[in-house]
Every structure is written in C-alpha cells, then in structure tokens.
C-alpha cells in the first residue's frame, strides 16, 4: 500500500468516500476525508516510538452549523466490501461517542442483511447500501442541489492534487503536518484556537507564501481554524450571546474556573518575577497576560461569526472549495468561478488575515489568499 502524506493513494474505498462526500456537500456541509483519531502516548510505551498512537480514522467527516448555533458533525464509514457489518456497527457507535458526532453512516455498496439494519436502528446509525446511496443522490439531483457538475472538486482529482501538494512539504515543517493531521483532532476544540496560531507562529520564518506546498498548508490551516471557530461560536452562544467577551474568555480556558486558575498561575508567575527581580521588574509588553496578544482580533472574528451563523458555516465550505476547487484544481481547464455567499467569502478572508497577523506570518499570505478568493468566487 503506497502512502503519501498520510493518504493512501491506492485506496480501494476512495470512490465510495467521494460519493458520500458529494452527498454531504449537497446537504450543506463542508467535508474532510480520512480524519485520524489518535492519542498522545509516552514514547517508551509507544509501539512505534512516536509520540502519538492512532486509534482509527474517520473516512468522511461532514461539518456544518445550524442557524441556531449547533455544530453538526456527520461521520461516514465507507468500505467497498460488505464484511463483518455487525462488528463495524459497534465500532461506529464508539466513534460516534468519541467524536460526539450527531449522525453516523455505515456505507456499503452491496446490500446489507436485514439483521444488520435492525442493529443499526437500535444503535442509531444509518446504514447506506449502494441502493440507498443511489436513491439519496437521486433525491439531491431532484432537489436541484446536485447540478451534476463534473468539476474536479467532485471527482477526486482536486483532492488528490491538494494532498499531493501537501505531501511534498519539506521535512522541516513536519510538526505543522503532525498538528494538522493528528494533534488538531486530539485537542479539545477550544484549545485549537490558540494552538493553531502557536504552530504557525513557531514556523513563521520557514513559511513562504510563494512556495506552493507552503501556501497549500496555510489554506488547510485556514479550514481548520474555521472549523474551530464554529465550535467556538457554539460554545460562546451556549455561555452568553449577550456578553461575547466574557463567554469567549471562559471558552478559551474551559469555563470560569479554568479562567480563574490560569489567571492565578499567571499572577504567581508575575509575583515570582517580582521576587527575583524586585518591584521594578517590568516589560515593554504585557507578557503576564492570560489572554494571547491577538485576543482583541480573535474576539472581533468570533463576534462576526456569532452575528452571521449561516455565513460562518458557509465560510467553512468556501474554504474547502477554495482549497480544492480554486487552488488545487487551478490547472484544470474545467475550473469555473462559482457564486458563493459574498459575506461567507469575506468572513473566510477575515480568518486568513487574522491568522497571518496573529501568527506574524509574511503578509503576502493574506494578499495571495485574497487574490485566490477573488478569482474563485
């Protein structure tokens, strides 16, 4: 089996995954293939000497947010052969709990035994056979959602091109790859708001906007940040839509208690410095701050997503389209501009420029992103 950047090039299940991905897309979700679920382990206890060990992966993930601020997560397990369905259903139930997915699909091209369907119903999992999939695709065509476009975005060529570009990144940037493929999915969503910026910031000197793989990496980070923002919006609104500032501070540190604990830690560090260096110890910048320096910009960004949840959800889809349909498929003669919600496209650019500023990346990243966005939408 040949691997490239974590993606199996001779993946037999790829056509099934693409079909489900297309279905999710027409349901209004943004999608991602082959999401790895893993755990951080001690190296001396790791089978591979790596710092993480993979449990399993999600074949197709669909993400969206309702206008009522609920993040929707759909997971599909796609296999081209229909063996050991009962075992797989129990496994999928575990995945559902672990990933807190709203809906799980077990997709098999062949017909599924009636007993398996009964089990699936009891486990609240949707079985999609080849016949079901064809029917669902037909429904979306009838509703006008599936225009039958042969755009490279749908046929998998853009996806493969994007993954290939990402896989060609030099090994100096391995931690950035590791974060996007593994750590991002291990961490609680709230932590990614700061972690993602930290990773980009730590490699700001090695990232070049005119380097195609580097730019592809940046595009993927923007998608990941958009996803983290949707989870943030959900958390903030649950806490208090009327006081976004305080709700966001709580969300960043888990809850009020978490925020207070961090404030106490930072206070003690400040005191420690005073003890070591005397009362006059001071800095030009407020380094003893629980909140990151980019917090005001983050608050602005979150507020914009809270105010326009539909556009926020659509921004994630715009990001996916930009990465695959705009960037990766740019060499294809079949590429055409698509009409996107202008506010969603703008919010996406807000996210990109926020990441550039917060991580102190080369500002050319924002400029190129904006140019690509204007050319694509």
């Amino acid at each position: 089996m040949q691997r490239q950047g974590g993606f199996v090039l001779d993946d037999r299940d790829f056509p099934v995954k693409l079909a489900v991905r297309r279905l999710f897309w027409y349901e209004g979700l943004s999608t991602r293939l082959n999401v790895k679920l893993a755990a951080v382990v001690r190296r001396d206890q790791s089978r591979t000497r790596a710092a993480t060990e993979e449990y399993t992966d999600l074949d197709v993930l669909g993400v969206g947010m309702t206008p009522g601020y609920q993040v929707l997560l759909k997971v599909a397990d796609c296999k081209s052969v229909g063996k050991r369905i009962a075992e797989r259903l129990f496994w999928l139930q575990g995945v559902k709990v672990l990933f807190q997915a709203n809906t799980c699909y077990l997709v098999r091209p062949s017909e599924v035994p009636a007993s398996s369907r009964q089990l699936a119903t009891r486990l609240d999992i949707v079985i999609v056979s080849g016949k079901d999939l064809a029917a669902l695709q037909e429904f979306s065509r009838e509703s006008g959602a599936d225009s039958g476009s042969q755009h490279p975005f749908f046929d998998g060529s853009a996806y493969l091109a994007f993954e290939k570009t990402l896989a060609s990144i030099d090994s100096r940037l391995d931690p950035l790859q590791k974060y996007r493929s593994t750590y991002y999915w291990i961490l609680e969503p709230r932590r990614n708001l700061q972690q993602l910026v930290t990773y980009l910031s730590d490699f700001k000197q090695q990232l070049y906007p005119d380097n195609k793989p580097h730019f592809a990496l940046f595009l993927d980070y923007v998608w990941l940040y958009c996803f983290a923002l949707l989870k943030t919006v959900e958390g903030v609104v649950k806490s208090s839509a009327g006081d976004i500032d305080h709700a966001l501070k709580q969300f960043l540190f888990g809850d009020e208690l978490g925020l207070k604990e961090r404030e106490a830690v930072v206070h003690h560090l400040r005191e420690l410095r005073k003890m070591l260096e005397g009362e006059q110890a001071s800095s030009a910048r407020d380094i003893f701050s629980v909140l990151p320096s980019y917090y005001p910009s983050l608050r602005e960004l979150v507020t914009r997503f809270v105010r326009k949840p539909r556009a926020g959800s659509e921004a994630l889809r715009c990001s996916e389209w930009l990465n695959l349909g705009g960037f990766a498929a740019s060499q294809s003669p079949r590429v055409e501009r698509i009409s996107a919600d202008p506010v969603a496209a703008k919010l996406l650019n807000d996210v990109a420029s926020f990441l550039v500023e917060a991580s102190q990346l080369n500002p050319e990243f924002s400029a190129r992103f904006l140019q690509l966005s204007n050319e694509t939408f």
């Binding site: 710092a51 961090r262 030009a284 105010r307 496209a345 703008k346 650019n349 904006l370």
Partner: protein, 428 residues
C-alpha cells in the same frame, strides 16, 4: 495652539465637527481653508460607523449616494474617505473600476471604537491651529457650558483663532450661546440634551464658574449621579428644568433622583426619538438606584443587568429579587419591562420592542463611556497601588542598576513560561 487632547476625544470631536459642518456650505472659504483634515477624519468616522457589521458592501456606488444624502459625505471626497479607511485596515479588498469604488470588505471593530485610531490619523495629518482649536472647543463644550470670556483662557487659544472658531462654530450651529446680564454670553453644545438651554443664564448667575465646572465634570464621567445636597449646581439645574433626573423609590421609601446630561450627536434622540432617550435614562436610573441604594445586596456590576435584558438566550429576564418590584416600577409603568411572578417576588423581563431594545443599548453606551467597570477593565490591579506609594519609587538610574544586578530571566523567557502556563505551546 490648545493643549493636547487624547486621540479618542479627537476622533469623537472630529465626527462632531463634521456633523456640525453639514449646516455650512462645504465649499465656503473657512471650511476649505481650515477644516480639511477634521472633515475628512469626521467623514471617515461616520462612514465607518455606517458600514459597521455589514461585512461586504456589494454596491459601493449606492453607498456613496446614501452617505452623501444621509451623512453629507461629499461624493467627491468618497474615494478619499474610503482610501483613508483602507490605509487604516478598517476596510479592505476595495474593488475599483475606472476610478470608481465598486465593492469593499468592511472590518470596523465591533468591540472597540474607531475613534482612537482615527484621532491618530488626524494628528498625523498635522492639523491647522484653527482645526486644533475647533476640536478643543467642541471637546470642552461636550463636558460643560463655558462663559465666552473664559474660553480662550481655558483652552489656550489666541484671540484671532478664537474668533474664527466661534464664527465657524456659530454658523455651523456647533456652538450655541445664551446671553447673560451685562452683555456676557455662555457657550454650550447643541448636542447636550438640555431641556431648556435659556436656563443656563440663571445657573451662571447664581453659581460660580468653578462650581459649575466641577459638578458638570463629575456628571460627564458618571451619568446618573444620585442627587444630594453635595451637588448644589446640579440640584439647581434639575429644579429649574435644565437637566433631566428620573426618580426611583429607594428601600427606605424615599424617591431618589439620578441626574443625566447625555451628549449625543444622534440628533434624533433629542427630537423625534426623544422617547428612546428618556427610556434609556429611566433604565439607567433604576440600575443606579440598585447600585447606590441597594441595601444588603447592592448591584455590583450594572452592565451585567443591562446585558441580561438584551440577551434573548436568558429571555431578557432578570433573576427574582425582593426589591425588583419597587426598583423597576418606573420601567414597568413606562412599558419597558413586564413583571413575571416568581413566588412573592417578580422577575423583570424586557418587553422586546425595537424601541426598548434600542433604549437598553443606549443605556449601556451611557454606562460604558462613564468610566464604569467596562471601561476600567484591563488596568493591572497593582498599578494604582504603586502610584499611591511614592516611598517605594526608585529613580531611573537606581532602577537600571537594580535591573542589571538582579535580572535573571529575559522577557522572552518569562513569556515562554506564561505561554506554557496558558496552553500556548506546541505539543510536538
């Protein structure tokens, strides 16, 4: 040249000046000669506030027409105003075709205002002395009325500049006046919601300028001051009908009055939408009553009460309390809240008409820009203590020496520690 104002005030006053200059022919000599930067910055502030929250302005041509009509932003200055906002990163992705602006993305800050940033632009553009004097005058009159003869001395203006500023201010109705006996005048800002400005003359006859200044300054920084014997000028101003002061019943059964002098360039609030302003003042008076006369459970964070009234996820409803029926009776009578029974107590719930929601937001603004907890956030708690303790102050040279001998870790080291403690560190 008048003494320096802070950037926030400059930005604010520039918008006031631009709003006032709408009454003057924009091509008149004085405006063109003296007010170019201030008008430009003022127009930029007005435009920024207009597009705030839009995200995308799809039809900038239409925007140009609308702001020309509604905000008197000269269509010929439109490109320059947008250019200024673009330089400041307040708008971006400005699409131009043959010199015309077709479309733009807006990034006006939601949680902080643009005035400070635009005030800095005003400074960088090197304003004329007349401009600086005009902005300083508008700022001074935004705090309190001032005797004409005191204006130049208070602001450090020369006579020639003062005359031009007053002529332009009167022509544009940015400065108004009432006559005192002996031919003197009191200057005031039309943006103050004085009920009857002619009463100012009586006030200046009865009280000294210093008394008036002290009490008005106190009121400017704290809207909704509880009236008492210690505030003779404001008590007199309320008694004579100059200022408004809604009354709320305190726990002891006494009616307590809370005085306001809101300053707003939103002229609607002083005319056609005065009812919204009155509702806002009533809301704030009730909250102030809980703050100052709350008995055993005074209101500690007035802003949170207003936030709750605005929050649909909390049904715009306060928690039940034994005092609520009394404290919010005024709002109940004015149709701003309804009382939801909760045992023997009640829970006030905002009646969510557009006017009521706007009134709560306005009350929030009045609270926010009065030096309340919202504005005071972010001040390190230790800073005031250090300022109050001069005995521990070290001269700069001594400080340098102490730093040299004692410095163990650099800022970068400490920052890394803080980042690690707050979860901003890479895992691998």
């Amino acid at each position: 040249m008048p003494s320096k104002l802070d950037k926030f005030r400059i930005g604010l006053c520039s918008q006031d000046v631009h709003t006032g200059l709408r009454n003057v022919d924009p091509s008149s000599g004085a405006v063109v000669q003296y007010m170019e930067s201030t008008r430009l910055v003022g127009m930029a502030a007005s435009l920024a506030l207009t597009i705030k929250g839009q995200d995308v302005v799809e039809d900038a041509e239409a925007l140009k027409v609308i702001v020309a009509d509604q905000l008197d932003i000269d269509p010929f200055a439109f490109n320059q105003v947008v250019g200024l906002l673009e330089e400041q990163g307040i708008v971006y992705n400005v699409e131009r075709q043959s010199g015309r602006i077709k479309r733009l993305y807006e990034k006006v800050p939601v949680h902080k205002n643009v005035f400070e940033q635009l005030g800095e632009v005003w400074e960088q553009r090197g304003p004329t002395e007349i401009e600086a004097s005009m902005v300083a005058t508008v700022d001074a009159l935004a705090t309190q009325p001032i005797r004409h003869m005191e204006l130049g001395r208070t602001l450090g203006m020369d006579k020639k500049a003062q005359q031009i500023v007053l002529d332009l201010g009167r022509e544009s109705q940015l400065i108004k006046s009432v006559s005192l006996p002996k031919g003197e005048e009191v200057l005031y800002s039309p943006y103050f919601s004085f009920e009857n400005p002619s009463i100012l003359a009586e006030l200046f006859t009865k009280h000294t300028d210093a008394e008036i200044q002290a009490e008005f300054e106190g009121l400017k920084s704290y809207q909704g001051l509880p009236l008492s014997d210690k505030l003779p000028v404001l008590t007199d101003a309320v008694a004579r009908g100059l200022l408004t002061a809604p009354s709320v019943e305190a726990p002891d059964g006494e009616l307590r009055s809370f005085v306001f002098a809101p300053y707003t360039i939103g002229h609607d609030y002083l005319t056609t939408r005065k009812s919204v302003l009155e509702k806002a003042l009533a809301i704030l008076a009730c909250v102030r009553c809980g703050q100052h006369f709350g008995g055993y459970t005074p209101v500690a964070f007035p802003a949170r009460i207003l936030q709750t009234l605005l929050d649909p996820s909390r049904n715009r409803m306060l928690k039940a309390h034994s005092s609520h029926r009394r404290q919010y009776r005024l709002l109940h009578r004015m149709g701003i809240v309804r009382f939801i029974p909760s045992g023997a107590w009640v829970q006030p719930q905002l009646i969510d008409t557009p006017d009521n929601i706007e009134a709560v937001k306005l009350a929030m603004e009045l609270l926010k820009y009065s030096g309340e907890p919202l504005a005071g956030r972010g001040v390190p708690p230790d800073a005031p203590k250090l300022l109050m303790n001069p005995g521990r102050y070290l001269t700069p040279i001594m400080t340098v020496q102490r730093q040299r001998t004692r410095l163990l870790l650099t800022d970068e080291h400490w920052e890394k520690l803080v980042n690690a403690a707050t979860g901003r560190i890479r895992l691998g």
